[in-house]
């Protein structure tokens, strides 16, 4: 076998990340890859910094490649290593820390730096740029105490920063040098509409604003304009453009203009050195939007795997990622000799559309308010389609052009399979439709999990939903999966995310901040919110007793006649003469009509009167038994076989492990009930392979299973991993459960959660990523200190006594006489 070639990558942003992804697909074993990354983070989605700033997403949500990805692909990632020199003769690179790495091929992806306007005061603390996660963190800290912020720059990034800071509660002023906002992407009309929209949200916009100086003594105090106006601010964000980082390449003697010069194959003036991303210059242009950068990445992957491809500088489309503002532009829409324009306005609906044509071809489009036809126009601009036949109705979109009547799906239906739907992840229509048909996908979350379409910025969500409708017809019912309940339009996922993002810590806070439509919620959302708050703020949130279903309020299961059933815990299904005797005594003493064995190896006493519950518990407590949580969205049971204690086939101490898991995990609340089992050998007498979490012991250790079901649905488990020791088995199961506690939707069993988020992502978080597993484990352990108190004993001691006694007895016998 020939020795692998060495590929060294300088930079770890989105463009090289995509290039490597494509390379590993095309030629999995061709290169030994080493990445030098000046930042200490792994690859994350910079496009989504704005949703992080506004609180709609967390940093974890925007990570593209976690540590596990590098490990799986055999990539050596050197975090915090800045490359200071390239020696083209020796074919080596040298890092700041003195590491020298030889290369056969080198990929430069040094990105760009934000432009800083060198006005007086630009170095004061409180002056930030908007470029990376550190900037976002700094803005979030500044926004915590409110106050005024100035954003210099009314382009895409500046406006997203302004909207995010406003959302975080700051008073925001945008200063823009030009007469209209986003003048490179929008024509003046759309720019004005955007300005009005931002102003209606309470953001002040000053155009033709020329910054003279940033004022302040030790810290920023405001901005002075050339016309003398002073705008007070404790935070100034400069978002006025980017400049390619080409210094390293220039010092290595590569040809450099504004950026590193490349040919259509993305090679620099040295054929063994490629460059990609915001550091390159091609045909006189430098690039800041993700779509062309991803295209470059594809070209490089082809080149490295021995198949040449050429980068084409094609038209670009832009969307603004500010929730509630629909804005789309593509191509070249400047006025000019020989150019025609077609304009449609609907002032009441806030719609503006303008198409620019030259001869029979479309050059550009600007859409504001209604952007549904954007991809269709974009496709025609890119392909140079002859529009002479459809020109009359062109602006009304594909629904009218075809002569058919308008419906919402027509625009999407008219798109060819090659049309790009998701710009962030480069997913075309054909791939989405194919995945829906072949994979039996039925929901937006399914499509996101399987194709990544609309999984990043989400601005193509509407299009993906239309594709679902188009492909599945009545089989797609978005309403069935969407709102948490009728009190809100938000989904479970939205609510969970916003609880964290907005630091909401009580049920009324959530209902107020998320604009609940009912005054006090309903029987669906109250328990869900209570669970989300409890799992997100352990030790801080005070359980809202009245938000719980009766079973969890009185720690027993209500039966059809209003009596209750009581199931004491029997660790791992083991019991004793003493426990059985106590149970028999309780049954006699309280005249309990039925006693039954459950499927989870417990004993169930049925038909207990509510008033008798504290007495029953007191007697069971006295014999050493505690609540079995058979009534809760919680760890119910760990079923075991007798393992090496007794069985001639047993390979490990399955009973011991089951008891250990149960003693460690009992009392924790989960999105839905959790049933576990441990079998001592693959004969699987504990039926572990249809449980939420199951363990099959084998000679070499423990096979951990999860996501099984044997109720409404029947489903065998998935194998999560194999671990050699009991300690690691426990740690893995605990981490898995904690991940489920943090991500699961209320009442969503583990198998449904796993289907929604993808088995791989769970394996990544719990098995591959050791640090993350340890962190999940720690969070579980932390929350357990607040939940391992026997609720029965508490009530025997008098807690919630009013629950178990009528308020009054009233007799009418005498009155009736």
């Amino acid at each position: 076998m020939p020795a692998k070639q060495k590929l060294v990558v300088i930079g770890n942003g989105m463009a090289p990340g995509r290039a490597l992804e494509k390379l590993f697909e095309a030629a999995p074993d061709a290169f030994d890859v080493t990445i030098f990354n000046a930042e200490t983070r792994t690859n994350y989605d910079r496009i989504l910094l704005s949703p992080v700033l506004s609180g709609e997403k967390s940093f974890e949500d925007i990570v593209i490649h976690g540590d596990g990805w590098y490990e799986r692909n055999g990539v050596t990632l050197l975090k915090g290593h800045k490359v200071v020199a390239i020696d083209r003769a020796a074919k080596t690179v040298t890092s700041e820390r003195g590491i020298v790495a030889p290369y056969d091929k080198l990929l430069i992806a040094t990105g760009s730096s934000p432009v800083i306007i060198p006005v007086p005061g630009h170095k004061l603390p409180g002056v930030l740029t908007y470029r990376d996660m550190d900037d976002v963190s700094a803005m979030m800290v500044a926004a915590q105490s409110g106050g005024a912020a100035v954003v210099i720059g009314g382009g895409l990034l500046g406006l997203e920063a302004a909207a995010g800071l406003k959302e975080r509660g700051m008073n925001v002023t945008v200063l823009h040098l030009m007469p209209t906002l986003m003048e490179r992407q929008l024509d003046p009309t759309a720019g004005h509409m955007l300005k009005r929209e931002l102003e209606s949200r309470g953001i002040t916009v000053i155009t033709e604003a020329n910054t003279e100086e940033i004022i302040g003594e030790a810290y920023v105090e405001g901005v002075r304009l050339k016309d003398g106006r002073v705008i007070p601010a404790k935070l100034v964000v400069m978002a006025v453009g980017i400049r390619p980082n080409a210094a390293l390449a220039r010092e290595a003697g590569l040809e450099v203009g504004r950026g590193i010069l490349v040919d259509p194959s993305m090679r620099t003036s040295d054929p063994d050195i490629y460059a990609v991303g915001e550091c390159v210059e091609f045909n006189g242009s430098v690039y800041g939007l993700v779509a062309p950068l991803y295209e470059m990445a594809g070209v490089i992957a082809m080149g490295l795997s021995g198949r040449e491809a050429a980068f084409v500088d094609s038209a670009l489309a832009t969307k603004l990622k500010v929730t509630g503002i629909n804005l789309f532009s593509a191509g070249d829409f400047a006025e000019g000799e020989g150019r025609d324009e077609v304009v449609l306005r609907d002032a009441r609906a806030g719609v503006y559309k303008r198409l620019v044509l030259q001869g029979n071809r479309m050059l550009g489009a600007v859409l504001y308010g209604d952007t549904g036809d954007g991809p269709w126009f974009f496709q025609m601009i890119r392909e140079g389609t002859d529009v002479s036949d459809i020109r009359e109705n062109l602006i009304f979109g594909p629904a009218f052009v075809g002569g058919g009547k308008a419906d919402s799906g027509a625009a999407v239906s008219a798109l060819p399979d090659t049309a790009e739907i998701c710009g962030c992840n480069g997913v075309c229509k054909g791939k989405i439709v194919g995945a829906i048909q072949d994979g039996g996908l039925t929901s937006l979350d399914d499509v996101r999990a399987h194709t990544k379409a609309s999984a990043s910025c989400g601005s193509c969500t509407g299009l993906v939903e239309q594709l679902l409708t188009l492909t599945l017809g009545d089989g797609y019912n978005p309403a069935a999966v969407k709102p948490l309940c009728t009190c809100t339009d938000l989904s479970h996922a939205d609510v969970r995310r916003l609880i964290v993002a907005k630091a909401l810590k009580t049920v009324p806070d959530v209902m107020q901040a998320l604009e609940w439509k009912s005054s006090g919620g309903c029987a669906k959302c109250k328990p869900a919110l209570n669970y989300y708050l409890l799992s997100n703020w352990p030790g801080e949130y005070v359980d809202d007793y009245q938000s719980r279903f009766i079973n969890e309020r009185v720690h027993a299961n209500i039966q059809k006649d209003g009596t209750y059933s009581v199931v004491p815990r029997m660790w791992g299904g083991m019991t004793s003469a003493r426990e059985l005797r106590a149970i028999a005594d309780v049954v006699d003493k309280y005249d309990i009509p039925a006693v039954k064995c459950t499927g989870g190896q417990r004993i169930d006493m049925l038909g207990v009167k509510k008033e008798d519950l504290p007495g029953v518990w007191s007697d069971l407590n006295a014999a050493g038994m505690v609540s079995g949580h058979a009534y809760g969205k919680a760890l119910r049971t760990v079923k075991t076989c007798v393992g090496t204690d007794w069985c001639r086939f047993g390979t490990q101490d399955s009973t011991g492990l089951g008891i250990r898991i149960e003693k460690f995990m009992w009392g924790s609340w989960t999105p839905a009930k959790v049933k576990m089992a441990v079998s001592g050998c693959p004969r699987n007498c504990a039926e572990a392979t249809c449980k939420d979490v199951g363990v099959i012991c084998v000679d070499s250790g423990y096979e951990i299973h999860f996501a099984g079901a044997a109720g409404l649905d029947i489903k065998g488990t998935e194998v999560l991993c194999h671990v050699p020791t009991e300690d690691l088995a426990l740690e893995t199961i605990v981490a898995l459960t904690q991940l489920y506690r943090e991500q699961g939707h209320y009442l969503e069993r583990i198998y449904k959660w796993a289907k929604r988020v993808g088995i791989e992502s769970i394996r990544e978080a719990v098995v591959v990523d050791d640090e993350n597993r340890a962190a999940l484990y720690e969070r579980f352990v932390y929350s357990q200190q607040f939940s391992q108190t026997d609720p029965w004993a508490e009530r025997v001691d008098g807690k919630d006594a009013h629950e178990f006694a009528p308020m009054r007895h009233v007799s009418f016998r005498e009155a009736a006489e």
Binding site: A523, N551, H802
Partner: protein, 111 residues
């Protein structure tokens, strides 16, 4: 004044957004106190399968039956659509903190 009025307790004995049971020889009565502070008394018996409404989750001016999630309006006793039905309500009077109920609807039925 006609009717069969009895004092059944004080407002403070009922948890907010919760309920208590008054046990009578003509059946149980559920007394609710909403989060907004209103107090209502209805028969503790869902028109669907006789579930104990006093054990349900109280939200706004309604309760959801713990057995099959029927939703009952506490002030009128009416079932919220799409299900249909009605629970008897009992006239209620507050005297400061004291709660008085008129049980005549129950007793007339029991007789």
């Amino acid at each position: 004044m006609s009717g069969l009025w009895r004092e059944v307790g004080t407002i403070g004995e009922i948890p907010a957004a919760g309920s208590r049971v008054v046990r009578t020889d003509a059946g149980d009565v559920a007394i609710f106190r909403t989060a907004q502070g209103a107090v209502h008394a209805i028969e503790d018996r869902c028109p669907h399968k006789a579930g104990p409404l006093s054990q349900g989750i109280v939200h706004g001016g309604r309760v959801t039956c713990p057995l099959h999630n029927w939703v009952i309006d506490l002030a009128t006793g009416g079932v919220i659509g799409p299900d249909e039905g009605c629970v008897r309500t009992l006239p209620l009077r507050l005297d400061g903190e004291r709660i008085l109920l008129d049980f005549s609807v129950l007793v007339r039925r029991a007789a």
